[in-house]
Amino acid sequence: MDELEFRRRIYTNPADSDQDLVDAAAQNPDNEAFWQEMKQLDDKLKMAADIPVPDDLANKLILRQTLREFNQQKRRNRWYIGLAASVAFTFGIGLTAWQQQHVQLDEAALAHMYYAETEQPHGTAEITPQLVNAKLAQFGAELDPSIGHIASVNYCLLDAIRSLHLIIETPEGRMSVFLVPEHDKPMNNDFADRSYHGSSYALHKTNILVVGDKGTNIPAFKSELKQHLKFSA
């Protein structure tokens, strides 16, 4: 190895301890002297490079991170609380809206059937065809008394609508007739639940729902009713 190459390698890295460098230094005292000089320079460089580190730097770095993390955690928690609050709020609004949603008339009628079962007749006044027709007159309707014995005639609320509930004794059994003075309410033509079934039709802005016990002939009573219940308007 020539001197130039030796110096180049030593300049590049004085800590290099390759055998060919060792050999070149052993053969040439100038090389050896240069190597020692460069090793000394490197010692100085190491000393100089070893800048004193601020005492508390490590703790500062850790503390900062801990605080930052803590704050982020707090912010994240706040975010979660915010989300939870808005979910609860939305749920509340939804629930209110759902509760305010109107049930269908047929469902209301069926529900009323169970209520009417336990209802005591109002007063003891005999139900005359005149009384029935006086009440029906408000709906612009008139009932031919030959349809059967009117067991009861009462106002009731179906889905918050003041309606008239008639219970008529027929050869088919007790039949309920609801008159609801709203024609645009959602409603099924035929409906049923576990105890009752029924059918509906609309006439002169009035919905008429016929409900009877399971097994009664609703279509027959319905056509019977259509013949006996007349609307004047």
């Binding site: 490079a49 730097l57 490590a58 770095l61 993390e69």
Partner: protein, 169 residues
């Protein structure tokens, strides 16, 4: 989270000193060095999960640090303060002896292209290959820069010690 904190603390304790020193030699200024070390470890924390190999931590941190330093220069373009002038005045440390201060000044005056590979070698003990990988240079370029860095330092320090000799003699 606990585990990540422990990992982070270990990383800080093991490497903050050398990272700070390297930052100092990148910036030639103590407070700037501290700032970019803070930034570096902040970014390191965020990306800590991506650090799989603990052995790679050193060069990973150096990469972050160098990026932070480059960012600082992008910001500096908008400042009117001449960074080099400021840094020289902040460079003096009183607690070191005259010779160490002289060597530090000499290192500080090296071109950054020469100073960086030299400091990777001196501070971190990186090999030529490792420096080349870290700085994304080819190995011959790295070797040439190391060679020139030492040659320049030797020249500066020899002539100044001769000068001192003249003055005292």
């Amino acid at each position: 989270m606990k585990e990540k904190t422990l990992r982070y603390e270990a990383l800080v304790r093991a490497l903050h000193g050398d990272i700070y020193r390297y930052a100092y030699w990148l910036t030639n200024d103590k407070s700037t060095a501290e700032d970019i070390v803070q930034e570096t470890f902040l970014r390191a924390w965020r990306a800590l999960d991506s650090l799989q190999d603990e052995k790679a931590a050193k060069s990973w941190l150096i990469t972050i640090l160098r990026r932070e330093n480059a960012r600082r220069f992008e910001r500096k373009q908008f400042d009117l303060v001449d960074f080099d002038e400021v840094s020289v005045s902040g460079n003096e440390d009183q607690d070191s002896d005259a010779e160490v201060r002289q060597v530090r000044r000499a290192i500080g005056k090296l071109a950054p292209d020469y100073r960086e590979p030299l400091m990777l070698q001196i501070i971190f003990g990186f090999s030529g290959d490792e420096i080349a990988a870290q700085l994304e240079l080819n190995k011959n370029t790295v070797m040439t820069r190391l060679f020139r860095a030492r040659a320049q330092l030797k020249e500066v320090l020899t002539s100044s010690s001769q000068q001192r000799g003249f003055q005292s003699g």
